[in-house]
């Protein structure tokens, strides 16, 4: 059975060029949702925008118009720029003293400021139409902490949880739900290429075997949860952070 409440709706997915964002984009399209994708990286038919720039966000809104679902996937532990739009992920764990102020500011901007600016742009139209579903992306790095991705990324993703809870309170009276998804180890192409997160294939196997579900996540595993939250199943869910991590870590 297709999920009810999706067909015929309109959606914007940020970070749609690759990985989880692209999987979400494809899934919503396959459910009959008129789906727009945006990314700083020009590929597929994404609308190119630098979402850390409020002018770009405003122009994006002009192209997309009113939407029912906003899925803020854009972000990552390495900040992209207009000249390096899909940066390689670092292979080694990032420690406190490895992170300079520019990296800190870049990662906070790429993960937290983007979500703020995009929500600020699109939420008023959702309020006016008295319907909306916003799905933000946090991370297991914010839930349990991380020994890999760096404090900037974990802090930005922690910020997403606060943003999500606060917007849920603010937009609830307007029939707009706001939730966050906290993925665990999702083996996207980019992560696989960097063998990022693990020092060796052996270490990765041992880690996978320590997960209750005994496998890495796939982008489609996340896309299903986004679809669920946008569908009628998500109608009364708001303010929630949903862990999708194969049992790696149990949130509250």
């Amino acid at each position: 059975m297709p999920l009810s409440g999706l067909k015929g709706k309109r959606a914007l997915v940020t970070g749609a060029a690759s990985g989880i964002g692209h999987a979400v984009f494809s899934r919503l399209k396959s459910e009959g949702v008129e789906t727009f994708g945006t990314d700083i990286h020009a590929i597929h038919d994404v609308i190119v925008a630098d979402l850390t720039d409020s002018d770009d966000v405003e122009k994006l809104a002009g192209k997309v118009g009113a939407i029912d679902f906003l899925v803020n996937v854009a972000g990552g532990p390495v900040a992209p720029s207009r000249s390096d739009t899909l940066p390689e992920l670092k292979k080694n764990p990032l420690q406190l003293e490895d992170i300079d102020e520019a990296q800190w500011a870049g990662v906070i901007a790429a993960n937290l400021t983007t979500a703020f600016l995009v929500c600020r742009e699109f939420a008023p139209r959702m309020k006016a139409r008295r319907f909306g579903r916003i799905v933000n992306f946090t991370s297991i790095a914010a839930r349990r902490g991380s020994s890999r991705v760096g404090v900037h990324y974990a802090a930005a993703k922690g910020g997403i949880i606060g943003l999500t809870k606060t917007l849920a309170l603010e937009l609830g009276p307007h029939n707009v739900t706001v939730n966050a998804i906290a993925p665990g180890f999702i083996k996207t192409e980019r992560i696989a290429q960097a063998s990022w997160g693990h020092d060796s294939a052996e270490a990765e196997r041992a880690f996978i075997q320590s997960l209750p579900l005994r496998r890495a996540g796939k982008p489609d595993d996340i896309a299903g949860v986004v679809a669920m939250l946008c569908s009628d199943a998500g109608g009364y869910v708001s303010g929630a952070t949903i862990d999708v991590n194969g049992g790696w870590y149990f949130g509250p």
Binding site: L169, G172, G224, G234, G235, Y236, S238, D243, V244, G247
Partner: protein, 261 residues
């Protein structure tokens, strides 16, 4: 081969469990309904209905045996039985008791009854179904409550202190079962509804004072409304399907933004 689902507490027509039964039927599942409420069975003729007191481990074993005899497998278990009243053969259709039953003023018998129907029942069902779920993998979905998150404010009618504790136990049981069953491809998740407009809620609304019943908390729900049985059931069904294939041990709160874990 159709998937086979057991839903406890699925027979009362205005309950979350009943809506879950209908949702799983639409997904193509064979559904076994375990409930004490026999008058509800007539509306469930496309299901195997088994009169079951899920607080009795022997009755639960018979439920599992009947399911295997008829369908030879179990893929899904939804533990939807629950409540602070209307949960025993004696008070099945009774009106909710008046007054607040907290931990410090309830009867010991209240504690036993409420823990039995809300917590023991899910344990018995999961334990008895586990050997069958493990054969091919599957999903368990438990039903907790926002009561486990926030507690029941003194003065509230219709719910109880023991209920809040039992539902907290359900969340812990969800995590424990996720660890024990994950390697067999059995996912275990939970929903924690806020106020949902079930038949139970309607009965409480009829007796409660404005400030102390569900109408009181309504003012504190940012979405400005109670939840519907349909949206709660849709979420439970989604936790049974591949849409949530990488979720396990998770409690999903649905409460109109009245509490954010």
């Amino acid at each position: 081969m159709n998937r086979v689902a057991i839903v406890t507490g699925g027979a009362k027509p205005d309950s979350i469990g009943f809506a879950v039964v209908k949702g799983l039927r639409r997904e193509g599942c064979e559904v076994v309904v375990a409930d004490l409420y026999e008058p509800g069975f007539a509306a469930l003729q496309d299901c195997l209905c088994v009169k079951t007191d899920v607080a009795d481990p022997n009755a639960v074993q018979q439920l599992i045996d009947s399911t295997i005899k008829k369908f030879s497998r179990i893929d899904i278990l939804v533990n939807a039985v629950g409540g602070s009243w209307g949960i025993t053969p004696q008070d099945l259709t009774a009106a909710p008791p008046r007054g607040f039953r907290g931990l410090t003023n309830c009867e010991i018998s209240d504690w036993r009854t409420i823990l039995g129907a809300n917590l023991d029942s899910a344990f018995y069902c999961a334990r008895a179904a586990a050997p069958h779920l493990k054969k091919q993998g599957g999903a368990i979905v438990n039903v907790a409550s926002v009561a486990a998150r926030k507690g029941i404010p003194p003065g509230s009618e219709g719910s109880s202190g023991p209920y809040a504790v039992a539902k907290g136990g359900i969340m812990a049981m969800t995590r424990q079962l996720a660890l024990e069953l994950g390697e067999f491809g059995v996912r275990v998740n939970c929903v924690a509804p806020g106020v949902v407009a079930s038949g139970r809620f309607n009965k409480v609304s009829q007796i409660s004072k404005q400030d102390h019943g569900p109408e009181g908390p309504l003012a504190s729900i940012p979405m400005g409304r109670v939840g519907t049985v349909a949206e709660c059931a849709a979420l439970i069904v989604a936790l049974c399907t591949d849409d949530t294939s990488y979720m396990t041990g998770v409690t999903v709160d649905l409460n109109g933004a009245s509490y954010a874990a």
